[in-house]
């Protein structure tokens, strides 16, 4: 009986070890950082999270006098959109839609963010449109775009706020 308990405790310890090793692997897919990417000529390289919020709320509409901000956002269901709505807008999907209708209705913005259906399209538009800004899964960032630091941190660095 004692031998059985010894064996059982070893198996239990081994299981715990496996669990500890595998859990980060399982969670890894859901913790990929979301990069804030802009057109390479955009005259910023670091924004605070509240500045990012200001840009995506349409309260800051120009990077500089001649470069307007062009907002790109993924279509519903994409993880990038979920992260943006949760962390940046702090709104539900319906609140987000109502926010932009009201914003345009108040004459505070002429257009709502453009919706893109994939990170590839987002990357291509970012490289093509001066002033464009989008959220892209950090794994999908392509050459030709510029990744902004948020609160001084790049995706993958400890304390990066968008994940």
């Amino acid at each position: 009986m004692t031998a059985h308990w010894k064996f059982a405790s070893r198996v239990f310890a081994l299981s715990c070890l496996c669990l500890a090793l595998l859990s980060p692997l399982a969670a890894q897919r859901h913790d990929v950082d979301i990069a804030v990417v802009v057109h390479p000529d955009t005259p910023v390289s670091n924004l605070s999270l509240s500045d990012v919020r200001k840009v995506f709320l349409g309260d800051r509409q120009y990077w500089s006098t001649n470069v307007p901000v062009v907002l790109l956002i993924r279509a519903p269901v994409a993880r990038e959109r979920d992260v943006v709505l949760k962390i940046i807008y702090q709104m539900s999907e319906s609140q987000f839609k109502q926010y932009w209708i009201a914003k345009i209705f108040r004459a505070e913005a002429a257009t709502a963010p453009k919706v893109v259906y994939s990170n590839d399209i987002a990357n291509q538009l970012i490289t093509a449109i001066p002033g464009a800004i989008a959220f892209v899964d950090s794994k999908d960032v392509r050459p030709g775009t510029k990744v902004l630091r948020v609160d001084g941190r790049l995706p993958g660095e400890p304390g990066y706020p968008l994940r």
Partner: protein, 436 residues
């Protein structure tokens, strides 16, 4: 011995279950040797290449379609090519089509914005009311049908318009509520000309005519359309923008215009009633540390000429405190209206405020939003200008139910007293409001 095998089996099953919980991509890749690409990175690369092939195929298809269209020009009803099938593209439902521009693969190479690009949005509402006031008639009525137009004319010039149709006993009253052309120099300076909702306080410059936009059925009486407590509309020019202030998030509006017409509820659309211009200044703060908070203060100055030879100086000061979120939503606004008879130097001060609290309930898909508002107006009885304004003390208790993202149903109970020593009136009000 059998129990050992049983434990081993248990261990195997536990490990398998753990592996099964992780996504398929993380099951197979063994750790890569240093200097060699991992299986995961190779899979990602394959995915990229597949996407690239899809894009190239799509371009070929579009090129062929373009060549075909040279031979036979497309009719205006034809739609652009759909995104490549292999690219995961959620079908844009009616909800996704509102308020957002959609970019397809075909538009990537055609990124130049088109001007003008007119967008039209409509708002409407249908109401029912019943009160215990003597002589009142209960029943349905159509609220305002509002059309909103927005059109960028260039990267820096935009037009905004708002027209309303209001049911009258024998006709519909068509009114231009706002018409604004604006030039954006940058975030700190935007200059516009036209007819605005006067930026006094929060409500008047935020909710405008679409009842769907506001939580409650009706506006507070101090900013009611057709009312005279504050000038709801303003014709002239306005500068607005952000003030460099770091995390304080300061912004401003400054305007010069005609002010009130001889009908004090109307703006001077067709010209001023005197040679004196009105001006308005509004400053607000949206601190970045308290996302949702807005604090503002406004000043308005005008000279009223309700009848030839009668002139009154008008000073309006207002302040507002807003928590513009839904859990909770809090709006509070105060205004003092000061009038001075230029002939006799008599002065009158009238005050009004409201406090509104609402909360979006987290249950039932967050569709329910109960609210309460208290509002108050006091006006000296002998003020000769605000003849249509009555003292008010009233409470509104209601709930908003969002039927869809673009339509809401609201029900309210109101208990109000208008005038001095008048009985309180109880009323039930219902509204369905929507945007389209």
């Amino acid at each position: 011995m059998g129990s050992r095998w049983l434990l081993l089996l248990l261990f195997t099953l536990t490990t398998s279950a753990l592996l099964a919980q992780s996504p398929p991509q993380s099951q197979s890749p063994p750790p890569a040797a240093p200097g060699e690409p991992s299986v995961q990175s190779l899979l990602d690369r394959i995915q990229q290449l597949e996407n690239r092939i899809n894009q190239l195929e799509e371009r070929d298809r579009q090129r062929e379609a373009a060549q075909a269209s040279i031979a036979a020009p497309p009719s205006p009803a034809e739609t652009p090519a759909a995104p490549a099938a292999a690219i995961p593209a959620p079908t844009p439902g009616p909800a996704a089509m509102h308020g957002e521009d959609h970019v397809s693969m075909g538009e990537i190479r055609d990124t130049e914005r088109r001007f003008p690009s007119l967008q039209i949005r409509g708002f409407g509402d249908v109401d029912f009311s019943a009160t215990d006031q003597k002589g009142s008639i209960s029943g349905f009525n159509l609220g305002q049908l509002v059309l909103h137009l927005a059109s960028p004319l260039s990267e820096k010039v935009s037009y905004f318009g708002e027209v309303s149709f209001t049911a009258q006993p024998n006709a519909y009253d068509l009114s231009v509520e706002r018409t604004i052309i604006r030039y954006d120099y940058n975030d700190y300076f935007k200059l516009s000309f036209g007819k605005y909702h006067t930026p006094i306080g929060y409500w008047n410059a935020t909710f405008h005519h679409g009842a769907w936009l506001q939580t409650t059925i009706a506006r507070p009486e101090m900013v009611q359309f057709g009312g005279t407590f504050i000038p709801v509309h303003f014709v002239g020019l306005q500068a607005e923008g952000n003030i460099p202030s770091g995390g304080l998030g300061l912004g401003y509006n400054v305007g010069v215009g005609n002010g009130r017409s001889s009908f004090l509820s109307k703006a001077g659309d067709s010209g001023d009633s005197n040679d004196n211009r009105a001006w308005v200044a509004n400053v607000y703060a949206r601190p970045s540390r308290f996302y949702g908070l807005q604090v503002g203060a406004s000043v308005y100055r005008d000279k009223l000429t309700p009848q030839p030879g009668q002139n009154f100086g008008e000073w309006i000061t207002a302040a507002d405190l807003v928590w513009a979120k839904e859990k909770p939503e809090f709006l509070a606004e105060y205004a003092n209206v000061h009038h001075r008879d230029e002939a006799t130097a008599n002065t009158w001060d009238s005050q009004a405020f409201y406090v509104q609290l609402a909360y979006r309930l987290p249950w039932w898909q967050s569709k329910w939003k109960p609210y309460y508002r208290f509002e108050y107006i006091h006006k000296p009885e002998d003020d000769p200008t605000l003849l249509n304004v009555l003292d008010l003390s009233g409470s509104t208790l209601g709930v908003r139910y969002d039927i869809t993202n673009y339509a809401a149903f609201k029900g309210e109970y109101r208990n109000t007293r208008h005038g001095v020593d008048q009985p309180r009136v109880n009323g039930a009000f219902f509204q369905t409001s929507f945007t389209f």
